[in-house]
């Protein structure tokens, strides 16, 4: 939606911005789905500064996709294991 001139690694954070979620709110949704990493780590995953495990990636992807669904969208964020 918005071209922000970022590296491909930042792609998860771009989804977060499009989903209109703050970092705190996304973390809470991630935690809600059983995520075990701290908010600090999740932020690092979003910006591509740390590589998430496939499991962590999928929990974040699902948290984002459920938000997109609430907003009437599809499931735009790809999964690692599904």
């Amino acid at each position: 939606m918005i071209e922000r001139g970022r590296s491909p690694l930042d792609v998860l954070d771009t989804y977060r911005q499009e989903a209109g979620l703050s970092h705190g709110e996304l973390w809470l949704r991630y935690f809600e789905l059983g995520g075990m990493s701290t908010g600090f780590d999740v932020e690092a995953f979003l910006y591509g500064m740390l590589a998430p495990s496939d499991h962590d990636h999928d929990v974040i992807a699902q948290a984002l996709n459920e938000r997109f669904k609430e907003l009437g969208g599809d499931h735009p964020v790809p999964y690692a294991t599904v």
Binding site: R4, G5, G39, S53, H55
Partner: protein, 374 residues
């Protein structure tokens, strides 16, 4: 050498060293600060620096005119091959830049009426600026992103910016406002003019209207033509009396609870096309993000409730994973993937699927009603 300028609300300090001009801005820059900022930037540019840095670490807020001033300075510098770098933008300043880009994407070919000298041409290309903005973000800045301002004045300022940008960006918009529920009372925190203020006030006093309904239900309301509108009999004649013919109210949400609405008014019936409705939804989402980030409207009780809900959700998902682990002989992470596949194939949220699985496991006489995909 250093020069200090500014009103009590904001300040700027310019330093020249080895051909690099560094201008540190602090405080809140709105309503007329653009002229001062322009003068400061011009003075620095006149000294022909080899590079220029705008340090915005201490800057709390920037209005539209100030953002445009920076953008114009960047263009002037670019002509002589000089780079303008923004250093340490706060999360809010970063967000404002993001909103500017958004307006840029959906903007129609219209001038800014409040700033007569700034036509569409001057609004120009913001891509280069934002790219530099992104690339000037360091790891340390990212660590600070979570520290957000909760000052209601700053929040209201950001909402005013959204109102201003929404009005120039959304086709058919003659006025825009943001209503917010604060302490259970709905009021207008930002409006493009007095007529719009009056219109919102009429909705609050009659307890009717798209803005009230959107704020309370969290749904979207579109009155295409007030001439034929029947949903709000007490309010509609008052709006017509003020010359309004169409209203579009998009809900604002914080933690998925409705907290207000972004209202777009038009003097012409049926003036909001699908793309205008989409733009309004995008601005409403941005406003929601600002409110969520700032926690401006979320009490400790609501936070505690939300956290309790999150713990419940974790528990039920963990129980469902346990059921799958036992039946399939797989580990926890694989069980999560299996549960995720089930939720996706049925198009339901993960928690809902987990609840169903735990229920079915509790009633084994009904047999497992689930199957794992391969």
């Amino acid at each position: 050498m250093s020069v200090t300028k500014g009103s009590p609300d904001f300040g700027a300090v310019t330093n020249f060293e080895d051909g690099e001009a560094t201008i540190a801005l602090r405080g809140t820059m709105t309503q007329g600060a653009a002229f001062v900022l322009e003068a400061i930037l011009d003075a620095a540019i006149d000294r022909q620096p080899a590079s220029m840095v705008l340090d915005v670490a201490e800057l709390d807020f920037l209005g539209v005119a100030e953002l445009l001033t920076i953008s114009n300075a960047e263009k002037r510098l670019a002509i002589s091959g000089v780079t303008l770098t923004l250093r340490s933008p706060s999360a809010l300043v970063n967000r404002l830049l993001g909103i500017m880009e958004l307006a840029e994407v959906s903007r129609r070919e219209r001038a800014l009426p409040e700033h007569g000298h700034l036509g569409p041409e001057q609004l120009g290309d913001r891509g280069a600026l934002s790219e530099r903005f992104a690339s000037s973000l360091s790891a340390e800045d990212l660590r600070r992103v979570t520290a957000l301002p909760a000052d209601p004045d700053v929040i209201d300022g950001a909402l005013r910016l959204i109102v201003e940008l929404a009005r120039i960006s959304i086709g058919g918009a003659d006025g825009v406002s943001v209503s917010l529920l604060r302490h259970g009372v709905l009021s207008t925190v930002a409006a493009s003019d007095q007529t719009i203020m009056a219109m919102d006030a009429d909705q609050y006093s009659t307890g009717q209207g798209p803005c009230v309904d959107a704020s309370i239900t969290g749904h979207w309301f579109h009155a295409e033509s007030l001439d034929t509108e029947t949903r709000w009999p007490a309010f509609t004649p008052q709006a017509r009396g003020l010359g309004i013919k169409a209203i579009l109210s998009s809900p604002l949400r914080v933690f998925d609870k409705p907290v207000g609405a972004l209202n777009v008014y038009s003097r012409k019936a049926e003036s909001f096309e699908v793309k205008d409705q989409e733009s309004a939804a995008v601005f409403a989402r941005q406003a929601s993000v600002i409110l969520s980030d700032s926690r401006a409207d979320v009490s400790d009780t609501q936070m505690a409730f939300r956290f309790q809900e999150a713990l419940r959700s974790r528990k039920v998902i963990s129980l469902a994973e346990g059921v799958i682990m036992e039946r399939e002989g797989i580990d926890e992470e694989d069980a999560f993937s299996a549960l995720l596949r089930l939720a996706l194939s049925e198009g339901v949220p993960l928690r809902e699927r987990a609840e169903a699985m735990v229920l079915s496991a509790k009633q084994p006489e009904l047999g497992p009603e689930w199957e794992l995909d391969d």
